[in-house]
Amino acid sequence: MDIRLSGVGHFYDEFEVMRDISLDIPSGKIVCIVGPSGCGKSTLLRIIGGLERPTKGEVLQMGDAPKGCLNPLTYIFQDFALLPWRTVSGNISLVLEDHGIKGAQAKDIIGDVLARTSLSDFAEALPRQLSGGMKQRVAIARALAVNPAVMLMDEPLSALDSQTRELLMDDLVSLWNRAPFTAVYVTHNLSEAVRLGHSIVVLSRRPGIIREIVHVDKPLAERGYSDPDLEDQQRRLWNLLRDEARAADAELLNV
């Protein structure tokens, strides 16, 4: 299932956040969106998943979601968004309960996604007992449980320290290699973008427009920590973004 954005523009009151964003998100690929702070990357992601209504343009779902997909567009949030009063398995069963999946069937799904995110030993732990990296793994497990067609990841690693970030990037890569998923990955971190993105969409500062789409052809599995090819790509991206970032930094905040 592909996603197509055609001419998406958005205003907060009189304030233009983004303008004329047209983009195809092909299935089985990870599309990274980078841009200076305040360029509306997160807003764009909320629009793609239907959590916000764009002022202009539309988001199209091309074709039906694959069978067995409970929640085609599934988010992974920066702050994890786990219910603190539910255990790890309770947090996952939360998203299954409304689809009438209970008992043994739910147990199977929960067991499977916990195994895939190596969380099996933590099924009965409460979120407050977990480190940030573990919490985000739980959120990833919860997203996998509904068998999404497209994962919408909103700065999923930004709340984590840099070592945990590396570990989770490796986890995401191995998850993708085992079963390629479609994802839109919003980040301000260029090294995440070059490690995980098949294509990288560079947005300008507000009002956000697409400045460039960079394709990274190297297979995910071959990209490693401080890979020289990726460093080159990252430098190119930074050259594109530097002035935008500086100008965005000097702007007064109105939203």
Binding site: L51, L70, N71, F77, L83, L94, V95, R128
Partner: protein, 276 residues
């Protein structure tokens, strides 16, 4: 900079090492379990000594030991339960009515903008009315018997519970609600599984205040037309200037307050185990 580099070679002696003084203490409350009880006992002992020696006249304060004696007599005569029973049932019925309506209305205000716009000013208008002033009205509406007492207590607990509840619903983490929506949870599921548990800490701490108000109103209601009840007992003792019995009544009320607070503490422990 030049001062520093110059002075170093001049002084031949090595500088004497000094421990860096600790200055990060305080401003961190720690639990001290027995100090509260000790303060209580010391005050009681001071009152006892003062009244025994005659430093405090018996008209100023009754002897704590006499109060205890009176309490024992009240217990032995069986009158304690005769007063406490009706009081407890009034408190239970009135507070349960007021708190459950309050929580219900508070949640509705928290969830629906129209209800909020309509009811918040109304609640603000009702809140500051001393409910005791309305007792004659309640007597006409609900009868001189238990009805008016239930209504007074219920009405008094209702408003603070509403305010605490909608505040608690407002404070539920919006990102959790967005998460629920993004996973396609139904509206009802979001309210039941995300909003209600998220609002529970605020609702329970609101109940602490509401139930204390309920005890105050219980006494007020019983002072105006009740044969039995702690309030009636205190009123009677007050009219006779029988300070020992007055204090027995007051002590029972305090214990009632401590008990209610303990029940809420138990509920918090049970329902909010997920908090650190």
């Amino acid at each position: 900079m030049s001062e520093l580099t110059k002075s170093a070679p001049d002084e031949q002696t090595t500088p004497t090492p000094r421990v860096v003084a600790f200055r990060g203490g305080g401003f961190a409350p720690k639990p001290h379990r027995w100090i509260g009880l000790a303060v209580f006992l010391i005050l009681l002992a001071l009152a006892e000594i003062g009244t025994q020696t005659g430093f405090i006249t018996s008209l100023t304060l009754p002897k704590p030991s006499d109060v205890l004696q009176t309490f024992k007599e009240l217990y032995a005569s069986g009158l304690l339960w005769k007063h406490l029973g009706p009081s407890l049932s009034r408190l239970a019925v009135g507070a349960a009515l007021g708190a459950s309506f309050g929580i219900g209305v508070g949640i509705l205000i928290g969830l629906f903008s129209f209800i909020r716009a309509g009811l918040v000013p109304l609640v603000a208008a009702i809140f500051p009315i001393p409910k005791i002033a309305l007792l004659p009205l309640f007597v006409i509406w609900f009868g001189i018997d238990e009805g008016s007492k239930y209504a007074l207590i219920a009405f008094g607990t209702f408003t603070p519970t509403v305010v605490a509840t909608y505040g608690a619903v407002d404070n539920v983490d919006r990102t959790l609600i967005r998460m629920g929506q993004s996973f396609g949870l139904t509206w009802f599921s979001i309210v039941r599984k995300i909003v209600l548990p998220g609002a529970m800490p605020g609702i329970l701490s609101g109940l602490r205040i509401s139930l204390a108000i309920a005890i105050i109103l219980l006494v007020a209601a019983e002072m105006l037309g009740a044969e039995y009840g702690i309030g009636a007992y205190i009123l009677e003792a007050g009219a006779l200037y029988d300070l020992e019995r007055l204090f027995v009544g007051v002590v029972i009320l305090s214990m009632l307050g401590v008990m209610v607070s303990a029940v809420i503490g138990f509920l918090e422990k049970k329902l909010l185990r997920w908090r650190s």
